[in-house]
Subunit: 202 residues, 2 copies
DNA sequence: CCGCACTTGTCAGAGTCTGACAGTTTGGGC
DNA sequence: GCCCAAACTGTCAGACTCTGACAAGTGCGG
Protein backbone atom coordinates (compact mmCIF):
# COMPACT_ATOMS: atom_id res chain seq x y z
CA UNK A 1 0.00 0.00 0.00
CA UNK A 2 2.48 2.53 1.18
CA UNK A 3 5.03 2.99 -1.52
CA UNK A 4 6.56 6.27 -0.45
CA UNK A 5 9.11 4.86 2.01
CA UNK A 6 10.68 1.44 2.03
CA UNK A 7 9.19 0.19 5.25
CA UNK A 8 11.83 -2.19 6.59
CA UNK A 9 9.21 -4.78 7.45
CA UNK A 10 8.04 -5.31 3.91
CA UNK A 11 10.41 -7.40 1.85
CA UNK A 12 8.56 -6.70 -1.35
CA UNK A 13 8.91 -2.96 -0.87
CA UNK A 14 12.69 -3.33 -0.77
CA UNK A 15 12.89 -5.00 -4.14
CA UNK A 16 10.46 -2.42 -5.47
CA UNK A 17 12.72 0.42 -4.41
CA UNK A 18 15.71 -1.41 -5.86
CA UNK A 19 13.98 -1.68 -9.22
CA UNK A 20 13.02 1.98 -9.00
CA UNK A 21 16.58 3.20 -8.47
CA UNK A 22 17.88 0.82 -11.12
CA UNK A 23 15.37 2.10 -13.66
CA UNK A 24 16.13 5.68 -12.75
CA UNK A 25 19.89 5.35 -13.14
CA UNK A 26 19.44 3.44 -16.38
CA UNK A 27 17.16 6.11 -17.78
CA UNK A 28 19.42 8.97 -16.73
CA UNK A 29 22.35 7.34 -18.48
CA UNK A 30 20.33 7.04 -21.68
CA UNK A 31 19.08 10.62 -21.37
CA UNK A 32 22.56 12.07 -20.89
CA UNK A 33 23.81 10.22 -23.94
CA UNK A 34 20.99 10.69 -26.45
CA UNK A 35 18.90 13.48 -24.95
CA UNK A 36 15.62 13.31 -23.05
CA UNK A 37 13.36 13.70 -26.07
CA UNK A 38 15.28 11.21 -28.21
CA UNK A 39 14.79 8.29 -25.81
CA UNK A 40 11.40 6.58 -25.71
CA UNK A 41 9.94 4.71 -22.78
CA UNK A 42 10.06 1.52 -24.80
CA UNK A 43 13.81 1.87 -25.22
CA UNK A 44 14.23 2.25 -21.47
CA UNK A 45 12.03 -0.77 -20.90
CA UNK A 46 13.98 -2.80 -23.45
CA UNK A 47 17.26 -1.86 -21.79
CA UNK A 48 15.87 -3.00 -18.44
CA UNK A 49 14.34 -6.16 -19.86
CA UNK A 50 10.75 -5.34 -18.93
CA UNK A 51 7.72 -4.04 -20.77
CA UNK A 52 6.93 -0.38 -21.23
CA UNK A 53 3.75 -0.85 -19.23
CA UNK A 54 5.74 -1.87 -16.18
CA UNK A 55 7.91 1.24 -16.42
CA UNK A 56 4.77 3.33 -16.12
CA UNK A 57 3.80 1.27 -13.09
CA UNK A 58 6.96 2.37 -11.28
CA UNK A 59 6.96 5.94 -12.58
CA UNK A 60 3.64 7.58 -13.49
CA UNK A 61 5.32 9.96 -15.93
CA UNK A 62 8.49 9.81 -17.98
CA UNK A 63 9.83 12.88 -16.21
CA UNK A 64 9.60 11.18 -12.84
CA UNK A 65 12.46 8.94 -13.92
CA UNK A 66 14.69 11.98 -13.45
CA UNK A 67 12.87 14.06 -10.88
CA UNK A 68 12.06 11.21 -8.50
CA UNK A 69 9.24 10.87 -6.03
CA UNK A 70 7.84 14.34 -5.28
CA UNK A 71 6.58 13.32 -1.86
CA UNK A 72 10.04 12.30 -0.68
CA UNK A 73 12.15 14.68 1.40
CA UNK A 74 9.34 17.18 1.77
CA UNK A 75 8.74 16.26 5.38
CA UNK A 76 12.49 16.12 5.98
CA UNK A 77 12.83 19.82 5.24
CA UNK A 78 9.79 20.64 7.34
CA UNK A 79 11.07 18.70 10.34
CA UNK A 80 14.51 20.26 9.98
CA UNK A 81 12.88 23.69 10.03
CA UNK A 82 10.84 22.83 13.11
CA UNK A 83 13.99 21.68 14.89
CA UNK A 84 15.59 25.13 14.60
CA UNK A 85 15.40 27.65 17.40
CA UNK A 86 12.79 30.36 17.07
CA UNK A 87 15.39 32.95 18.11
CA UNK A 88 17.06 33.10 14.72
CA UNK A 89 15.41 34.67 11.70
CA UNK A 90 13.04 32.64 9.56
CA UNK A 91 15.35 32.78 6.57
CA UNK A 92 18.23 31.48 8.67
CA UNK A 93 16.10 28.55 9.77
CA UNK A 94 15.11 27.86 6.17
CA UNK A 95 18.74 28.03 5.10
CA UNK A 96 19.63 25.48 7.78
CA UNK A 97 16.73 23.25 6.83
CA UNK A 98 17.77 23.06 3.18
CA UNK A 99 21.39 22.46 4.21
CA UNK A 100 20.16 19.37 6.05
CA UNK A 101 18.48 18.29 2.83
CA UNK A 102 21.75 18.68 0.94
CA UNK A 103 23.60 16.48 3.40
CA UNK A 104 20.75 14.00 3.38
CA UNK A 105 20.46 14.18 -0.38
CA UNK A 106 23.27 11.84 -1.30
CA UNK A 107 20.58 9.28 -1.98
CA UNK A 108 18.03 11.30 -3.91
CA UNK A 109 20.41 13.52 -5.84
CA UNK A 110 22.01 10.79 -7.90
CA UNK A 111 25.14 12.71 -8.79
CA UNK A 112 25.35 15.58 -11.16
CA UNK A 113 24.05 13.55 -14.10
CA UNK A 114 20.41 13.81 -13.06
CA UNK A 115 20.75 17.54 -12.41
CA UNK A 116 22.48 18.12 -15.74
CA UNK A 117 19.65 16.47 -17.61
CA UNK A 118 17.10 18.29 -15.50
CA UNK A 119 18.54 21.76 -16.07
CA UNK A 120 18.85 21.24 -19.81
CA UNK A 121 15.26 20.19 -20.55
CA UNK A 122 12.52 22.75 -19.83
CA UNK A 123 9.90 20.08 -19.18
CA UNK A 124 12.06 18.56 -16.46
CA UNK A 125 12.74 21.92 -14.83
CA UNK A 126 9.01 22.44 -14.74
CA UNK A 127 8.38 19.04 -13.18
CA UNK A 128 11.06 19.76 -10.61
CA UNK A 129 9.32 23.00 -9.80
CA UNK A 130 6.11 21.07 -9.14
CA UNK A 131 8.01 19.02 -6.57
CA UNK A 132 9.22 22.24 -4.98
CA UNK A 133 5.64 23.51 -4.85
CA UNK A 134 4.68 20.38 -2.96
CA UNK A 135 7.45 21.05 -0.47
CA UNK A 136 6.24 24.62 -0.20
CA UNK A 137 2.75 23.45 0.71
CA UNK A 138 4.25 21.55 3.62
CA UNK A 139 6.58 24.33 4.70
CA UNK A 140 4.27 27.32 4.45
CA UNK A 141 2.02 26.46 7.44
CA UNK A 142 4.89 25.96 9.87
CA UNK A 143 6.61 29.10 8.60
CA UNK A 144 3.41 31.13 8.91
CA UNK A 145 3.11 29.97 12.53
CA UNK A 146 6.36 31.79 13.33
CA UNK A 147 5.30 35.08 11.76
CA UNK A 148 3.44 37.85 13.54
CA UNK A 149 1.25 40.54 12.07
CA UNK A 150 -1.12 40.53 9.15
CA UNK A 151 -0.77 38.53 5.95
CA UNK A 152 1.22 35.82 7.67
CA UNK A 153 0.23 33.27 5.06
CA UNK A 154 1.29 35.44 2.13
CA UNK A 155 4.57 36.48 3.75
CA UNK A 156 5.33 32.85 4.59
CA UNK A 157 4.83 31.91 0.95
CA UNK A 158 7.29 34.60 -0.08
CA UNK A 159 9.95 33.41 2.34
CA UNK A 160 9.53 29.76 1.41
CA UNK A 161 9.64 30.49 -2.31
CA UNK A 162 12.73 32.63 -1.75
CA UNK A 163 14.48 29.81 0.06
CA UNK A 164 13.50 27.42 -2.70
CA UNK A 165 14.92 29.84 -5.25
CA UNK A 166 18.23 29.86 -3.37
CA UNK A 167 18.17 26.06 -3.27
CA UNK A 168 17.50 25.86 -6.99
CA UNK A 169 20.11 28.43 -7.95
CA UNK A 170 22.73 26.76 -5.77
CA UNK A 171 22.16 23.34 -7.32
CA UNK A 172 22.11 24.83 -10.81
CA UNK A 173 25.43 26.53 -10.15
CA UNK A 174 26.84 23.31 -8.75
CA UNK A 175 26.64 21.44 -12.04
CA UNK A 176 28.50 24.00 -14.16
CA UNK A 177 31.80 22.47 -15.30
CA UNK A 178 34.27 24.80 -13.60
CA UNK A 179 32.61 24.89 -10.20
CA UNK A 180 34.65 23.48 -7.29
CA UNK A 181 32.60 24.38 -4.20
CA UNK A 182 30.17 22.03 -2.48
CA UNK A 183 26.39 22.47 -2.75
CA UNK A 184 26.25 23.59 0.90
CA UNK A 185 28.81 26.33 0.25
CA UNK A 186 26.92 27.53 -2.81
CA UNK A 187 23.70 27.57 -0.81
CA UNK A 188 25.43 29.87 1.67
CA UNK A 189 26.49 32.19 -1.15
CA UNK A 190 22.94 32.20 -2.51
CA UNK A 191 21.39 33.16 0.84
CA UNK A 192 24.08 35.78 1.36
CA UNK A 193 22.86 37.51 -1.81
CA UNK A 194 19.64 38.39 -0.01
CA UNK A 195 19.41 41.53 2.11
CA UNK A 196 20.83 41.16 5.59
CA UNK A 197 18.85 38.83 7.81
CA UNK A 198 21.16 38.74 10.81
CA UNK A 199 24.47 36.91 11.14
CA UNK A 200 24.69 33.44 9.62
CA UNK A 201 24.35 30.80 12.33
CA UNK A 202 27.18 28.33 12.93
CA UNK B 1 7.71 35.75 -40.50
CA UNK B 2 7.66 37.77 -37.33
CA UNK B 3 4.73 36.55 -35.30
CA UNK B 4 5.74 37.76 -31.85
CA UNK B 5 4.32 41.27 -32.09
CA UNK B 6 1.46 42.48 -34.19
CA UNK B 7 3.42 44.76 -36.46
CA UNK B 8 0.90 47.50 -37.33
CA UNK B 9 1.85 47.35 -41.00
CA UNK B 10 0.76 43.78 -41.47
CA UNK B 11 -2.98 43.41 -41.80
CA UNK B 12 -2.82 39.64 -41.63
CA UNK B 13 -0.98 39.77 -38.32
CA UNK B 14 -3.85 41.72 -36.80
CA UNK B 15 -6.41 39.07 -37.61
CA UNK B 16 -3.98 36.45 -36.39
CA UNK B 17 -3.73 38.12 -32.99
CA UNK B 18 -7.50 38.50 -32.89
CA UNK B 19 -7.96 34.79 -33.50
CA UNK B 20 -5.36 34.07 -30.82
CA UNK B 21 -7.13 36.07 -28.12
CA UNK B 22 -10.49 34.69 -29.18
CA UNK B 23 -9.25 31.11 -28.95
CA UNK B 24 -7.62 31.82 -25.62
CA UNK B 25 -10.74 33.31 -24.03
CA UNK B 26 -12.87 30.53 -25.45
CA UNK B 27 -10.57 27.86 -24.07
CA UNK B 28 -10.33 29.50 -20.64
CA UNK B 29 -14.11 29.56 -20.40
CA UNK B 30 -14.29 25.86 -21.20
CA UNK B 31 -11.50 25.08 -18.76
CA UNK B 32 -13.12 26.97 -15.89
CA UNK B 33 -16.38 25.15 -16.48
CA UNK B 34 -15.27 21.56 -17.09
CA UNK B 35 -11.67 21.50 -15.89
CA UNK B 36 -8.45 21.63 -17.88
CA UNK B 37 -8.02 17.87 -18.20
CA UNK B 38 -11.65 17.25 -19.14
CA UNK B 39 -11.56 19.47 -22.24
CA UNK B 40 -9.86 18.18 -25.36
CA UNK B 41 -8.30 20.26 -28.08
CA UNK B 42 -10.92 18.97 -30.51
CA UNK B 43 -13.70 20.35 -28.33
CA UNK B 44 -12.03 23.76 -28.29
CA UNK B 45 -11.63 23.61 -32.05
CA UNK B 46 -15.26 22.59 -32.51
CA UNK B 47 -16.41 25.48 -30.31
CA UNK B 48 -14.35 27.88 -32.44
CA UNK B 49 -15.45 26.33 -35.72
CA UNK B 50 -11.99 25.33 -36.89
CA UNK B 51 -10.00 22.12 -36.98
CA UNK B 52 -7.86 20.85 -34.12
CA UNK B 53 -4.81 21.12 -36.34
CA UNK B 54 -5.32 24.85 -36.68
CA UNK B 55 -5.49 25.26 -32.92
CA UNK B 56 -2.03 23.77 -32.67
CA UNK B 57 -0.89 26.19 -35.33
CA UNK B 58 -1.80 29.13 -33.12
CA UNK B 59 -0.69 27.55 -29.84
CA UNK B 60 2.12 24.97 -29.92
CA UNK B 61 0.89 23.34 -26.71
CA UNK B 62 -2.48 23.09 -25.04
CA UNK B 63 -1.14 24.85 -21.95
CA UNK B 64 -0.20 27.89 -24.02
CA UNK B 65 -3.90 28.62 -24.42
CA UNK B 66 -3.85 29.71 -20.78
CA UNK B 67 -0.27 30.80 -20.23
CA UNK B 68 0.06 32.86 -23.39
CA UNK B 69 3.15 33.74 -25.36
CA UNK B 70 6.22 33.26 -23.14
CA UNK B 71 8.30 35.77 -25.10
CA UNK B 72 5.86 38.61 -24.46
CA UNK B 73 6.47 41.07 -21.66
CA UNK B 74 9.92 39.73 -20.91
CA UNK B 75 11.65 42.71 -22.44
CA UNK B 76 9.11 45.05 -20.82
CA UNK B 77 10.29 44.06 -17.37
CA UNK B 78 13.93 44.31 -18.40
CA UNK B 79 13.49 47.79 -19.84
CA UNK B 80 11.56 48.89 -16.76
CA UNK B 81 14.42 47.70 -14.60
CA UNK B 82 16.99 49.50 -16.72
CA UNK B 83 14.97 52.72 -16.42
CA UNK B 84 15.32 52.75 -12.63
CA UNK B 85 18.01 54.74 -10.88
CA UNK B 86 21.07 52.83 -9.75
CA UNK B 87 20.91 54.60 -6.39
CA UNK B 88 18.13 52.43 -5.02
CA UNK B 89 18.63 48.80 -4.07
CA UNK B 90 18.36 46.12 -6.71
CA UNK B 91 15.29 44.60 -5.10
CA UNK B 92 13.58 47.98 -5.09
CA UNK B 93 14.27 48.34 -8.79
CA UNK B 94 12.94 44.85 -9.42
CA UNK B 95 9.82 45.62 -7.40
CA UNK B 96 9.23 48.74 -9.51
CA UNK B 97 9.84 46.82 -12.72
CA UNK B 98 7.22 44.20 -11.92
CA UNK B 99 4.80 46.88 -10.83
CA UNK B 100 5.09 48.33 -14.32
CA UNK B 101 4.25 44.89 -15.65
CA UNK B 102 1.13 44.75 -13.50
CA UNK B 103 -0.10 48.08 -14.80
CA UNK B 104 0.77 47.07 -18.34
CA UNK B 105 -0.71 43.62 -17.87
CA UNK B 106 -4.33 44.42 -18.44
CA UNK B 107 -3.92 42.83 -21.83
CA UNK B 108 -2.00 39.69 -21.02
CA UNK B 109 -3.60 38.89 -17.71
CA UNK B 110 -7.06 38.18 -19.06
CA UNK B 111 -8.88 38.67 -15.81
CA UNK B 112 -8.84 36.37 -12.86
CA UNK B 113 -10.27 33.45 -14.84
CA UNK B 114 -6.99 32.57 -16.50
CA UNK B 115 -5.13 32.81 -13.21
CA UNK B 116 -7.69 30.69 -11.42
CA UNK B 117 -7.33 27.91 -13.96
CA UNK B 118 -3.56 28.29 -13.90
CA UNK B 119 -3.21 28.02 -10.13
CA UNK B 120 -5.48 24.99 -9.91
CA UNK B 121 -3.69 22.77 -12.42
CA UNK B 122 -0.10 21.78 -11.59
CA UNK B 123 0.86 21.41 -15.24
CA UNK B 124 -0.17 24.99 -15.93
CA UNK B 125 1.71 26.33 -12.91
CA UNK B 126 4.77 24.54 -14.25
CA UNK B 127 4.31 26.01 -17.72
CA UNK B 128 3.93 29.45 -16.20
CA UNK B 129 7.17 28.90 -14.32
CA UNK B 130 8.90 28.19 -17.62
CA UNK B 131 7.75 31.57 -18.84
CA UNK B 132 9.16 33.14 -15.71
CA UNK B 133 12.48 31.37 -16.34
CA UNK B 134 12.58 32.97 -19.77
CA UNK B 135 12.05 36.36 -18.18
CA UNK B 136 14.81 35.53 -15.71
CA UNK B 137 17.24 34.80 -18.52
CA UNK B 138 16.61 38.32 -19.82
CA UNK B 139 16.77 39.98 -16.42
CA UNK B 140 19.78 38.22 -14.91
CA UNK B 141 22.45 39.86 -17.13
CA UNK B 142 21.28 43.40 -16.48
CA UNK B 143 20.91 42.70 -12.76
CA UNK B 144 24.38 41.15 -12.59
CA UNK B 145 25.78 44.29 -14.19
CA UNK B 146 24.67 46.29 -11.15
CA UNK B 147 26.27 43.96 -8.60
CA UNK B 148 29.81 44.21 -7.29
CA UNK B 149 32.01 41.52 -5.85
CA UNK B 150 32.31 37.84 -6.67
CA UNK B 151 29.56 35.52 -7.85
CA UNK B 152 27.62 38.36 -9.43
CA UNK B 153 25.87 35.97 -11.80
CA UNK B 154 24.71 33.64 -9.04
CA UNK B 155 23.60 36.46 -6.75
CA UNK B 156 21.72 38.06 -9.63
CA UNK B 157 19.86 34.82 -10.24
CA UNK B 158 18.86 34.70 -6.59
CA UNK B 159 17.53 38.25 -6.62
CA UNK B 160 15.62 37.77 -9.88
CA UNK B 161 14.09 34.50 -8.71
CA UNK B 162 13.14 36.15 -5.44
CA UNK B 163 11.38 38.96 -7.26
CA UNK B 164 9.60 36.43 -9.46
CA UNK B 165 8.49 34.57 -6.35
CA UNK B 166 6.98 37.77 -4.98
CA UNK B 167 5.26 38.37 -8.31
CA UNK B 168 3.86 34.86 -8.34
CA UNK B 169 2.71 34.92 -4.72
CA UNK B 170 1.05 38.30 -5.19
CA UNK B 171 -0.92 37.14 -8.21
CA UNK B 172 -1.87 33.89 -6.51
CA UNK B 173 -3.16 35.83 -3.51
CA UNK B 174 -5.06 38.18 -5.80
CA UNK B 175 -7.42 35.48 -7.09
CA UNK B 176 -8.55 34.18 -3.69
CA UNK B 177 -12.28 34.99 -3.28
CA UNK B 178 -12.13 37.32 -0.29
CA UNK B 179 -9.25 39.47 -1.46
CA UNK B 180 -10.00 43.16 -2.07
CA UNK B 181 -6.58 44.71 -2.67
CA UNK B 182 -5.10 45.36 -6.09
CA UNK B 183 -2.25 43.27 -7.51
CA UNK B 184 0.15 46.19 -7.07
CA UNK B 185 -0.71 46.49 -3.39
CA UNK B 186 -0.24 42.76 -2.88
CA UNK B 187 3.11 42.95 -4.65
CA UNK B 188 4.15 45.58 -2.13
CA UNK B 189 3.12 43.33 0.75
CA UNK B 190 5.07 40.45 -0.79
CA UNK B 191 8.27 42.47 -1.13
CA UNK B 192 7.83 43.83 2.39
CA UNK B 193 8.02 40.25 3.68
CA UNK B 194 11.66 40.13 2.65
CA UNK B 195 14.36 41.41 5.02
CA UNK B 196 14.83 45.15 4.93
CA UNK B 197 16.24 46.49 1.71
CA UNK B 198 15.95 50.18 2.35
CA UNK B 199 12.82 52.33 2.29
CA UNK B 200 10.27 51.63 -0.41
CA UNK B 201 10.60 54.19 -3.20
CA UNK B 202 7.66 56.43 -4.11
C1' DC C 1 -6.20 40.64 -63.31
C1' DC C 2 -2.99 37.30 -61.81
C1' DG C 3 0.82 35.39 -59.16
C1' DC C 4 2.19 34.44 -54.66
C1' DA C 5 2.23 34.00 -49.94
C1' DC C 6 -0.52 32.69 -46.12
C1' DT C 7 -3.94 29.91 -44.13
C1' DT C 8 -6.70 25.85 -43.58
C1' DG C 9 -8.32 20.97 -43.64
C1' DT C 10 -7.31 16.25 -44.02
C1' DC C 11 -4.58 12.36 -43.43
C1' DA C 12 -1.05 9.77 -41.25
C1' DG C 13 2.05 8.76 -37.68
C1' DA C 14 4.89 8.77 -33.25
C1' DG C 15 4.77 8.96 -28.48
C1' DT C 16 2.83 9.25 -23.66
C1' DC C 17 -0.34 7.57 -20.48
C1' DT C 18 -4.41 4.75 -18.76
C1' DG C 19 -7.59 0.97 -18.07
C1' DA C 20 -8.80 -3.97 -18.28
C1' DC C 21 -7.80 -8.76 -18.32
C1' DA C 22 -5.27 -13.03 -17.60
C1' DG C 23 -1.24 -15.53 -16.16
C1' DT C 24 2.55 -15.97 -13.03
C1' DT C 25 5.23 -15.42 -8.95
C1' DT C 26 5.82 -14.82 -4.15
C1' DG C 27 5.21 -13.53 0.67
C1' DG C 28 3.26 -14.94 4.89
C1' DG C 29 -0.04 -17.31 7.83
C1' DC C 30 -1.45 -21.94 9.28
C1' DG D 1 5.56 -27.67 4.14
C1' DC D 2 1.28 -26.08 2.08
C1' DC D 3 -1.89 -23.01 0.41
C1' DC D 4 -4.18 -18.65 -0.48
C1' DA D 5 -4.43 -14.07 -1.19
C1' DA D 6 -1.92 -10.35 -2.74
C1' DA D 7 1.24 -8.35 -5.72
C1' DC D 8 3.66 -8.20 -10.09
C1' DT D 9 3.94 -8.67 -15.06
C1' DG D 10 2.75 -8.81 -20.04
C1' DT D 11 -0.48 -8.03 -23.59
C1' DC D 12 -4.07 -5.70 -25.77
C1' DA D 13 -6.81 -1.76 -26.61
C1' DG D 14 -7.82 2.97 -26.50
C1' DA D 15 -7.73 8.25 -25.74
C1' DC D 16 -5.07 12.18 -26.16
C1' DT D 17 -1.34 15.47 -27.51
C1' DC D 18 1.68 16.94 -30.91
C1' DT D 19 4.07 16.91 -35.60
C1' DG D 20 4.88 16.47 -40.49
C1' DA D 21 3.24 16.33 -45.33
C1' DC D 22 0.18 17.35 -48.93
C1' DA D 23 -3.57 19.59 -51.37
C1' DA D 24 -7.01 23.13 -51.67
C1' DG D 25 -8.81 27.60 -50.58
C1' DT D 26 -8.29 32.70 -49.60
C1' DG D 27 -6.80 37.36 -49.95
C1' DC D 28 -3.13 40.86 -50.46
C1' DG D 29 0.19 43.14 -53.68
C1' DG D 30 1.91 44.44 -58.14
Amino acid sequence: MDTQTASPGGLRAITRDAVRTHLSELAIDLFTEHGFDNVTVEQIAAAAGISARSVHRYFPAKEDLVVGDPTAYGSVVRDAFLARSTDESVLSSLRAAFTVLLDHGGQDIRGKAALCVMTSVPALRARNHEKHLLWASLLTPVVAARLRGSDAELRAQVLVQTALACFDVALTAWVVPGEQRTPAELLGVAFAALPSHGPTPP
